[in-house]
């Protein structure tokens, strides 16, 4: 968690154009606090890597300014910026040993030998590479090379550590372990981490705050929980996890509370929602939907009969795909708490889907 409220990186009205036609980053504003674990999340080509490379100094800004710890670094070379980067390809120097790699950033600026030795040792311990100091990178696994890249950047004691898709080349098991390790590392060193990723699970599990990018713009900046439960647009709702979207046909106010009419469900009352805005869609996460054979008797639930079309079993969960009488496709995910539970679901079977209307997220786009 952030220790202070101090802004360490301030991205102000930054735009990046390649040539005259491609706008990679479009008027982005961003404040990152000291000690945060911040994620830039978005599909490939959304401009997140370009934004990170602009913070590192590898891309020039077309418009705007970037401030690191209050200093405008827009025209400062990467060499002189107080940030360090972990590259997607690791970029570990192939002809140097682990120790030489980690000490490189200290050697080139003329740090005294004794200080280099102690700081290198400390960094190698930090990423748990002790014992491999004399290895060359081609004798290391992908995960170990990743650690070398981390140690090499952290040994410089940067104000911000930038990570460009650092886990994308690792296999699933190792990726999960490294996610935990990165969080532990970040808490240990207290340095601000900015990670670029297209993997929403990775961003949700690691970051304190996430900026979702699409088409060069920042669409929403929020904590992982807010982002998932209260997405601000259908793009964000759809990009982060699975979502059912209903089209709103009519908007009204009944007894001071927002009422949205949806074809499949009729009027839905949403207490406590801002009534001044116009809403076009209602979003509902699949795991919020309950599935039952009989119509639930509890009052205040939304319930709709639907036919099971597809049952996709993925071990811990089953993703159930339904179709209502009106032809609306809905997906629900249920935990397979009972070993033989999922066998009860037969394709074509009529079932009841139900949920609490509070789970609806109204969307304006």
């Amino acid at each position: 968690m952030p220790d202070t409220d101090k802004t360490i990186i301030s991205v102000q009205d930054v735009t990046k154009r390649f040539g005259s036609t491609v706008t990679a980053v479009d008027n982005v504003n961003l404040e990152i606090k000291e000690g945060e674990f911040f994620a830039l999340l978005g599909p490939s080509g959304c401009g997140k890597t370009t934004l990170l490379r602009m913070i590192a100094g590898f891309e020039t800004l077309t418009e705007g300014a970037i401030l690191i710890d209050g200093d405008d670094v827009s025209s400062v070379e990467p060499t002189h910026r107080p940030v360090n980067m972990v590259f997607q390809s690791y970029a570990v120097f192939p002809h140097m040993t682990v120790e030489e790699n980690v000490g490189y950033g200290l050697r080139v600026v003329g740090t005294p030998k004794a200080e280099i030795d102690s700081r290198v040792k400390e960094a190698i311990d930090l990423v748990r590479l002790s014992g491999l100091e004399q290895r060359k990178p081609n004798k290391l696994s992908g995960g170990q090379q990743q650690r070398v890249a981390l140690a090499r950047a952290l040994v410089k004691k940067p104000k911000v550590l930038l990570l460009d898709e650092p886990l994308s080349a690792l296999d699933a098991k190792l990726r999960e372990a490294m996610q935990l390790e990165l969080v532990r590392l970040q808490e240990n060193v207290g340095i601000t981490f900015i990670i670029v990723t297209h993997d929403q699970k990775e961003a949700l599990s690691m970051a304190n705050r996430i900026a979702v990018m699409g088409d060069g713009k920042i669409l929403q900046i929020a904590s992982p929980k807010t982002l998932y439960e209260y997405p601000s647009s259908s793009f964000v709702a759809d990009f982060i996890g699975q979502v059912n979207l209903f089209d709103v046909t009519e908007q009204g106010i009944a007894h001071g509370e927002l009422t949205l009419t949806v074809d499949e469900l009729g009027a839905v009352v949403l207490p406590g929602v801002d009534t001044s805005r116009t809403y076009h869609k209602l979003a509902l996460r699949p795991e919020k939907i309950g599935v039952a054979r009989d119509k639930p008797s509890e009052i205040g639930l939304v319930a709709i009969p639907a036919k099971l079309v597809e049952d996709s079993y993925i071990g811990d969960q089953s993703h159930l795909y339904f179709e209502t009488a009106g032809g609306k496709a809905l997906s629900a995910s249920v935990q397979n708490r009972d070993r033989d539970d999922h066998h009860l679901n037969k394709r074509g079977e009529k079932m009841w889907l139900y949920w609490h209307p509070a789970h609806f997220q109204p969307l304006s786009d």
């Binding site: 990467p78 360090n84 970029a91 120097f93 192939p94 490189y104 080139v108 081609n138």
Partner: protein
């Protein structure tokens, strides 16, 4: 029938007669002259037409031939200077072609590589015409300049090919860690280029050492190189002394080529070891 055809492995073709004879003829035409040259360098006969018995005296004679010595020293001097210069310039050219995008790059690259494909005789005539225009007397200097000129594209091609496999992030990582551009070049880029530099330099060296056509055209009085000296000796008569001198040249060229291949395969092995 079809099954048998499917099971043919690459070496099986050597069992076919036509394949074997093609291979045999190729080896024969390639290596018979060279082997007979080497054998007859040990021939104890002045006319060197029939085998008269084994001797090393023509090697002795060649080693004691002062003109041959001088020509060999010239060749080494020219090859040394031109290799050094061509390697530096060619490496810079190869690096620039890999690194930068600039207007007219395509045509420029084509022109740079032209000396590799155009006939040597044309290059030689062009060189002589050029030196005549700028009024530089023909001699060691003109030979060296010409050798540098035709070696540069070979080095550039080797470096360019080497750099194609380079990960640009390495240079970015170096800059990111606080290294100046100069430090980045010597610490990161140069070590990666090294096998290419060695290969390119050895290529330039052997090209220079045994070049005849361009050297012949651009040489002046007192600037005889080893190949030209041998050619002039042959014009009088093919004595075993010529064979002996040629054999020495073959051995040197072969040794250098082997060294180049060895350096290259060693560096490849280092990189692919995972």
């Amino acid at each position: 029938m079809s099954r048998r055809r499917l099971n043919v492995n690459p070496l099986d073709y050597s069992r076919k007669l036509w394949m074997r004879s093609a291979m045999g003829f190729t080896f024969f035409f390639l290596y018979f002259p060279i082997i007979s040259l080497i054998i007859f360098s040990f021939n104890d006969s002045k006319r060197n037409i029939t085998w008269q018995g084994f001797t090393l005296k023509y090697y002795e004679k060649a080693f004691n031939n002062n003109q041959l010595h001088e020509a060999f020293a010239n060749s080494l001097l020219i090859a040394g200077i031109s290799t050094l210069t061509a390697t530096v310039l060619g490496a810079m050219l190869g690096l620039a072609l890999y690194r930068f995008r600039f207007p007219m790059q395509g045509p420029y690259e084509g022109i740079v590589h032209l000396p590799i494909v155009i006939p040597e005789i044309c290059l030689a005539v062009a060189m002589v015409a050029f030196f005549a225009t700028v009024e530089v007397p023909l001699g060691l200097v003109t030979i060296t300049v010409s050798h540098i000129a035709f070696s540069i594209p070979f080095v550039a091609v080797v470096i360019r090919a080497r750099m194609a496999g380079f990960n640009r992030s390495l240079e970015e990582a170096s800059a990111d860690l606080g290294a100046s551009q100069w430090q980045t070049f010597w610490n990161v880029t140069f070590p990666y280029m090294k096998p290419g530099l060695v290969a390119g330099a050895l290529l330039a060296f052997t090209l220079s050492l045994d070049d005849f056509v361009i050297t012949f055209f651009t040489s002046g009085p007192g600037s005889t190189t080893f190949p030209i000296k041998i050619y002039s000796m042959v014009r009088f008569s093919v004595t075993p002394e010529v064979n002996a001198a040629s054999t020495v040249l073959i051995v040197i060229t072969l040794a250098l080529t082997t060294l180049a291949l060895w350096v290259q395969s060693k560096s490849q092995r280092n990189e692919s070891n995972a």
